[in-house]
């Protein structure tokens, strides 16, 4: 993005509710602030982003002041001179051996101080931080080719502390490897600008760093599922022709990229990404390949398998139904451009990717691309059990609902004091489309602010039954006013449909608050038909005027055989 574009984008920002971000750095922010501001604004088109900057040379103080302001996000950029001013070109503190030893000592103290401050700041707002991207000065006695003990010690200190920071909830470190790949180290520093204005970055580096930090601070929602082909994709060769033992994914058979692809899919599955197979093949042949030792993607990580000779679009349709998610949350991968085109024609919302068989570099890039599409900051318990719970839910669809519910031994937990640091409620609110009261998305700042407002309440609902736990599957947020309740948000994971959880939730709300009626901020979206069905069941119009009387609900409420437990 050119600076001109950034300025024009900011001038066109909507007159909308403010989303405040604080930039913490020790240098003159200059164009970096403009680019960061613009990239944040670009990611939040429905908000007006306000960016606050701090004082020159006072990284620690700027972080403290930013935290006190409780912004929606803190974006911090750390450079070596923030750790010790003698590591920057604007201070003449000396590079003699005794001074270098002192720099090491003070750096350790400074980084320890930052660790405490980051913990405190992250309790107020999410902190996105970039570690030093500029070079150390040539202060040591070694040639630039040789890493001195002094440099190694400083880098070890930074590594040690940044490892601690990465474990602080609410602190998100920008990957140095990612920056290294895209911004040439030799051209990042602009000494003239640094000395004249205090702005140390060459413009391309500043723009890239700003873009990356904005992406990390306001990440796009990750995709949910990946559908993969098998022959010449998950493995090298055609299983139906070469036989189950004739396909490969290892170095010996020059097929290692397929093994790496399998490894990535297994890792994605472990992090809660749904993985399915769509293959034109004989099911028994495929079963035998998956039974081979050394397969990096276990069959247990895949659900469902669609293995037959029908069009791939039919397989995709069946998989989407089994997963109960929208096509726009899915990536489809196949080595055949024709198959990819057939699926793309049937499901334009799906991201279709041709697997680059025979091109190791392109496969390597694909692995990074997939990690970018599916990556998430934290892995929740719900992520770990998602695939298994879908598998369990599958037979329930064909069972008589009354008999299934009565025998399911369903148990629900209603937690009326969700923790501010639990990412799951916000994840549910922002990812759920179908059973969603109004489709409203919230930032972390919105959510924190909502929970802090007197009179507001929120509840997170957990579910388990004899088939296993589903984890936290619903969130509701509202307010109690004059003997009535008003719900502003209500979402329920699609994995928990058809269990009358929504009915039990309403019953719990009436009971807990003694409310005579509940009103809802109900708004139709393109995809919340399942939510609207509940309104139909309750004989209510789906609109903000909808009002559910306690007595009317009691008359319409079906049997609720669940066990429930309430936590305050």
């Amino acid at each position: 993005m050119k600076l001109t574009e950034a300025l024009r984008l900011l001038q066109a920002a909507p007159n909308a509710p403010l989303w405040r971000a604080d930039l913490v750095c020790g240098f003159t922010p200059l164009h970096f602030a403009t680019w960061l501001h613009a990239h944040l604004q670009q990611r939040l088109p429905a908000r007006r982003v306000g960016l606050h900057t701090g004082l020159f040379g006072d990284w620690a103080g700027n972080l403290e002041r930013a935290a006190a302001a409780r912004p929606a996000a803190i974006v911090a950029v750390l450079e070596w001179e923030d750790i010790d001013p003698r590591l920057g070109p604007r201070q003449l503190g000396g590079w003699l051996s005794a001074q270098r030893v002192d720099i090491e000592t003070s750096a350790a103290q400074r980084l320890a101080q930052f660790t405490v401050q980051l913990g405190q700041a992250a309790a107020q707002a999410p902190v996105t931080i970039a570690l030093p991207t500029l070079p150390l000065p040539p202060a040591a006695h070694t040639t630039p080719l040789q890493m001195s003990v002094w440099e190694a010690n400083l880098r070890a200190l930074l590594a040690q502390f940044s490892a601690q920071w990465s474990q602080i909830p609410g602190v998100f470190l920008l990957s140095s490897q990612w920056v290294d790949e895209l911004s040439p180290a030799a051209t990042r520093f602009d000494p003239a600008s640094c000395l004249q204005t205090g702005f140390p970055y060459a413009k391309p580096h500043a723009e890239l760093l700003a873009s990356a930090l904005a992406s990390l601070a306001v990440p796009p929602p990750p995709k949910k599922g990946i559908i993969t082909d098998l022959d010449d994709t998950l493995w090298s060769g055609i299983a139906g022709e070469a036989g189950p033992d004739g396909v490969h994914w290892d170095l010996e058979h020059h097929a290692q990229p397929h093994g790496l692809y399998q490894q990535l899919l297994a890792s994605l599955a472990e992090s809660g990404v749904l993985v399915a197979v769509a293959s034109k093949n004989e099911p028994e042949v495929v079963r035998q390949v998956f039974a081979r030792p050394g397969m990096c993607l276990p069959a247990a990580s895949v659900f469902p398998f669609q293995v037959h000779w029908n069009p791939k679009s039919q397989s995709v349709e069946a998989i989407l139904k089994a997963w109960n998610i929208g096509a726009d949350s899915v990536v489809f991968i196949d080595d055949s451009p024709m198959e990819a085109a057939e699926v793309a024609a049937a499901f334009p919302e799906i991201e279709t990717i041709r697997f680059p068989t025979g091109d190791a570099r392109a496969v390597w890039q694909l692995l990074h691309h997939l990690r970018a599409r599916f990556g998430k900051s934290t892995i929740s318990e719900e992520d770990r059990i998602r695939s298994a719970s879908l598998r369990q839910a599958a037979p329930a669809v064909s069972t008589d609902p009354e008999a299934f519910l009565a025998g399911a031994e369903a148990r629900l937990e209603f937690h009326f004091s969700p923790g501010l640091t639990d990412p799951r409620p916000l994840e549910l609110i922002n990812k759920t489309n179908q059973f969603n009261l109004n489709g409203r998305r919230l930032t972390e700042d919105d959510w924190r602010g909502y929970l802090r407002t007197p009179g507001h309440f929120a509840a997170v609902v957990g579910y388990s039954d004899k088939y296993g736990p589903l984890g936290k599957i619903a969130v509701l947020a509202g307010r109690a006013e004059a003997g009535e309740l008003h719900l502003d948000s209500w979402v329920l994971s699609c994995r928990a449909f058809s269990r009358r959880i929504e009915h039990l939730t309403l019953a719990v709300l009436f009971e807990r608050f003694g409310a005579s009626a509940i009103t809802f901020d109900a708004q139709a979206t393109e995809r919340n038909q399942p939510m609207r069905q509940l309104w139909t069941d309750l004989s209510l119009p789906f609109s903000p005027a909808a009002r559910l009387e306690r007595d009317a609900f009691a008359a319409l409420c079906p049997a609720l055989p669940h066990q429930k437990e309430i936590f305050d």
Binding site: K2, L3, L7, Q11, L30, H31, T34, A192
Partner: protein, 79 residues
Amino acid sequence: MTDLEARLVRCLQTVFPALAEDQAREASQDTVSAWDSVAMLTLLTVVEEEFGITADYDRVEEFTSFSGLLGYLREHNLA
């Protein structure tokens, strides 16, 4: 107004959006209160992007007005 002048006016309006076209053509650090040292660096970067040049920052005192910038650009045969 020449094409060069029109493009330079757009640059000034990008950095100082409140300026009308005629105000931009008369603008200088003395007449635009927002034209401080930070705005100067922003303006020079916008001019660099628009005209594909690298400004000579040693001559920054010449860039304190529309006319000064225009003269510098004409020197670079950007008319």
